[in-house]
C-alpha cells in the first residue's frame, strides 16, 4: 500500500501498542486453552458463587456495545441524520463488544461444545434463553451493519470489486437493520438485568429495577465509549477524523442522561433500605459499607456519575477535550463497576432455607489467575480489533460526507451503486 508511510503519524507507537496487545492476547489464548482443557475447576467459582469475572466482562462488553443500537436508532428512526458517522463508529465498537461477550460466554459455560443448544432447544420461559436468542440475532444484525464498512475499504475495492459492491449495498438496509437492532437490543439489554431480577431466591437481585437500570446504563456507557474512542483515535492518528461539534452535543446529552441514571440508581438503592428483609438488607450493607463499598461509592457514584455529570453539563469543562475524555472514561468505568457490583451482590449473600431460621450467610469470590488472564486476553482482543478498525477500516471518520459518499474512495472506486450515494 503506497499510503502506509504517509498516513501513519507515529508508526512506532502503533507497532508498540499492537505488540503489547498481541502479548496479552497470546497469554489470554493460553489461559483459554487451559480452561477448555482442564475445565472450570481452574476458576475460583463455586456452587455458591457460580458466576464471576467472565459474566461481569460479558455484561460489560454488551453494555458498552449499546452505543450501536442507541445511535443507529437516533439516526435512522428518530432522524438525527447528522450523527450517522458517529453511529458508524458505534456500530463497529458494538460488533467488537458482542464478539468479546461471546468469547467470555464460550469459556464460562461448562459445555462450550453445546453453545448452539439455546437456538435449537427453546425454553421461552427463560430470560437467559431470550438473551441467547436476542444476542445471536443481534450479532447477525451487527454483522450486516459492519459489512458495508469492510466493503468500503480501498483494499476491498481493489481486490474484490464485486464483493465490495455487494457489501456496500447492504448499507441500503441500514434503517431496517436499525429497527431490528433497536428491538433486539432493548429486549436483551434489559433482560440481562432481568436475568438477575427474576430470581426470588436471591433477595438482593429480586426487584424490577434491574432491567431498567441495565438498559439505561448501557445506553449511557455505550455512547460514552463511542465518543471516547473517537476522540482518542483522532488524537493519535490522522486516520481518524472527528466532528467535535457532534461529539460535544452527544456529551452534553450524556450529562443530562446521567442525571437521570443517578436518580434511578439512588431510588433503586434507597428502596432497599426500607424494613428488614433477610438477605437484601445484608446485601445492601455489603454494597454500601462492605467489600463492594469502594466500588460502589467511588466507582459507580463518584467517578461514574457525579464527576461526569459535573464535567459534561458545564460548557467550559465539556469543551476541554482532556476533561471531557476523562469524564467519558469515568462513565465507562462506572458502568463496568455497576455490572460487577450487581453480579456479586446477589451471590455474596446467600439465604439459608432452614425453617424459623432464614438468615443470610456470606460467601466470597476472588477470580483466579486463569480467569484474570483469559479476561485480559478478551479485552486486548477488543482493543486490537478497534485499533485495526481505526487504522485500516476508517471506522472513525466523522466528516459529513463520510457516511454516504466516502469521497476519497469514490473517485478511485468507480462503481459505487447510485442508490447508496443518493440514499439519505
Amino acid at each position: 500500500m503506497e499510503t502506509t508511510g504517509r498516513s501513519v503519524q507515529r508508526p512506532s507507537l502503533l507497532v508498540g501498542w499492537i505488540g503489547l496487545l498481541s502479548v496479552v492476547i497470546l497469554a489470554g489464548v493460553v489461559a483459554g486453552g487451559i480452561v477448555f482443557k482442564e475445565g472450570l475447576k481452574v476458576t475460583n467459582l463455586t456452587d455458591l458463587v457460580p458466576w464471576g469475572l467472565w459474566i461481569t466482562l460479558d455484561l460489560s462488553s454488551i453494555a458498552l456495545a449499546a452505543g450501536a443500537f442507541s445511535l443507529c436508532a437516533a439516526v435512522y428512526l428518530i432522524g438525527l441524520k447528522e450523527f450517522a458517522p458517529v453511529a458508524r463508529t458505534a456500530t463497529f465498537i458494538g460488533f467488537i463488544g458482542y464478539s468479546m461477550a461471546m468469547l467470555c460466554l464460550l469459556m464460562d459455560i461448562g459445555r462450550p461444545d453445546r453453545f448452539w443448544h439455546g437456538f435449537v432447544f427453546w425454553n421461552p420461559h427463560s430470560v437467559l434463553w431470550e438473551v441467547t436468542m436476542c444476542v445471536g440475532l443481534y450479532f447477525s444484525v451487527l454483522t450486516l451493519e459492519v459489512l458495508p464498512i469492510i466493503g468500503r475499504t480501498k483494499w476491498m475495492y481493489r481486490a474484490f470489486p464485486w464483493v465490495a459492491e455487494r457489501l456496500t449495498g447492504l448499507h441500503h438496509y441500514a434503517p431496517i437493520l436499525a429497527m431490528f437492532g433497536l428491538g433486539l437490543s432493548l429486549l436483551h439489554q434489559s433482560s440481562l438485568g432481568g436475568t438477575y431480577g427474576v430470581l426470588q431466591a436471591r433477595p438482593a437481585w429480586y426487584r424490577p429495577n434491574l432491567s431498567v437500570l441495565f438498559v439505561y446504563s448501557a445506553v449511557i456507557g455505550g455512547i460514552a465509549l463511542t465518543i471516547f474512542v473517537s476522540m482518542l483515535a483522532a488524537r493519535l492518528t490522522t486516520r481518524a477524523r472527528v466532528d467535535d461539534s457532534l461529539l460535544e452535543r452527544l456529551s452534553y446529552f450524556l450529562g443530562w442522561a446521567l442525571l437521570g441514571y443517578l436518580y434511578f440508581r439512588f431510588w433503586d438503592t434507597l428502596a432497599m433500605t426500607y424494613t428488614y428483609q433477610p438477605g437484601r438488607t445484608e446485601a445492601l450493607q455489603v454494597l454500601t459499607r462492605g467489600s463492594l463499598a469502594i466500588n460502589f461509592w467511588v466507582g459507580e457514584i463518584l467517578l461514574g456519575m457525579i464527576f461526569p455529570v459535573f464535567v459534561l453539563l458545564r460548557s467550559s469543562l465539556r469543551n476541554n477535550p482532556f476533561m471531557r475524555m476523562l469524564a467519558l472514561g469515568a462513565i465507562v468505568l462506572g458502568v463496568v463497576a455497576y455490572r460487577w457490583d450487581t453480579t456479586m451482590l446477589g451471590q455474596l449473600v446467600v439465604l439459608t432455607y432452614l425453617p424459623n431460621e432464614i438468615v443470610a450467610r456470606y460467601t466470597s469470590y476472588v477470580p483466579s489467575l486463569v480467569e484474570i488472564v483469559s479476561s485480559a486476553g478478551v479485552v486486548a482482543y477488543g482493543l486490537l480489533a478497534v485499533t485495526v478498525g481505526v487504522r485500516f477500516l476508517g471506522v472513525v471518520d466523522h466528516r459529513a460526507e463520510a457516511e454516504h459518499a466516502e469521497a476519497p474512495l469514490e473517485r478511485e472506486a468507480h462503481s459505487m451503486r447510485p442508490e447508496i450515494a443518493g440514499a439519505d
Partner: protein
C-alpha cells in the same frame, strides 16, 4: 421528507410482519415451563420425619453410591437444624422437586424439566453448563461438575451399586428422586414406596424410617395418610415453589 415518511411506514409493516413470523415460529405444543410434560396417574412426594431423623447421614452415602456422584457432590445433604430440648434436630435436604420449580423456569435449553408425576429431571445431554439453575434454586440442591469424576467411587460397593451413568464434566446435577428405580419398578409391577427396589435409595437405607416415599394420588399410600394425620411444613413455602418434600417437625425429645 415525504419519501422518508413512506419509508418509515413500510418499516413498521416489516416490523409487524417480522413479529407475526416470530409468533408463528413459537413452539406451541411444548408447553409452559411449569407445566407438567405428558400425563401421569402418579404424584410422587417424600415425607421426612424430623422427629425420627438421627443425623446418621446414611442417606447421603447411599445416594452418592447409587447415583455414582463424586465425593464432593452430595445430592442429599443432612444439615443440623437446631435443638428441641436436649436433642439435636436434623434436616435432610434432597431436591424439593418443586411444582413451581425456579430451575425449570430459568433453564435456557429445557435441560431441567418437570415430569407429569412431579419429578424435576435433568437432561445431562442437553445441559450447557450455564449454572443459571444453581443461582435460581433457593435450596442449594444443585451441584456443578467442575471436574470430571474419574476413578473408583469410594462408597461402592459398600453403600450401593451405581444404577445410572456418571455425569460428564461441565453439567449441573441434582437429586432425581431415584426416578430410575421408580420407572423400572413400575415397569415390573412394583409399588414405589413399598417395594424396596422401586423406592429411592435414601428411603431404603434410612435405619430409623425417617423417610417415607409414595404416591400422593393414592389415598391408601403411607405418605397420604401421614400428611393427613400430622402437622407438616415445607421449606421456604413463602416463595411459592410448592416443594414435593414434606417435613414432619420435631416436637419433643421424649416422643422418640
Amino acid at each position: 421528507m415525504g419519501k422518508q415518511g413512506l419509508e418509515r411506514r413500510s418499516f413498521l409493516k416489516v416490523l409487524s410482519a417480522g413479529a407475526a413470523a416470530l409468533l408463528g415460529l413459537w413452539p406451541r405444543n411444548r408447553g409452559q415451563a411449569s407445566d407438567h410434560e405428558g400425563v401421569s396417574e402418579h404424584s410422587w412426594v417424600m415425607v421426612i420425619d424430623q422427629d425420627r431423623c438421627i443425623g446418621c447421614g446414611y442417606c447421603t452415602l447411599a445416594c452418592q453410591a447409587h447415583n455414582d456422584a463424586p465425593p464432593n457432590i452430595q445430592w442429599n445433604r443432612v444439615i443440623k437444624a437446631g435443638k428441641v430440648g436436649d436433642s439435636d434436630i436434623y434436616l435432610p435436604r434432597p431436591c424439593m422437586h418443586c411444582d413451581h420449580a425456579p430451575c425449570v423456569s430459568v433453564c435456557p435449553v429445557k435441560a431441567s424439566y418437570k415430569r407429569a408425576d412431579g419429578i424435576v429431571m435433568m437432561d445431562y445431554d442437553r445441559c450447557i453448563g450455564c449454572r443459571y439453575c444453581e443461582v435460581a434454586c433457593p435450596y442449594g440442591a444443585r451441584a456443578f461438575n467442575w471436574d470430571e469424576f474419574v476413578g473408583e467411587n469410594p462408597l461402592v460397593p459398600e453403600w450401593g451399586i451405581p444404577e445410572v451413568p456418571r455425569r460428564p464434566r461441565g453439567v449441573v446435577e441434582k437429586c432425581s428422586f431415584c426416578y430410575h428405580r421408580i420407572d423400572r419398578g413400575l415397569a415390573v409391577g412394583l409399588k414405589p414406596g413399598e417395594a424396596i427396589s422401586a423406592t429411592p435409595a435414601c428411603v431404603v437405607v434410612c435405619p430409623v424410617s425417617a423417610r417415607v416415599f409414595g404416591d400422593f394420588n393414592d389415598p391408601d399410600c403411607q405418605v397420604t395418610r401421614l400428611l393427613a394425620a400430622n402437622p407438616y411444613y415445607r421449606l421456604r413455602e413463602d416463595m411459592g415453589t410448592r416443594p414435593r418434600v414434606y417435613y414432619l417437625p420435631a416436637r419433643r425429645a421424649e416422643t422418640w
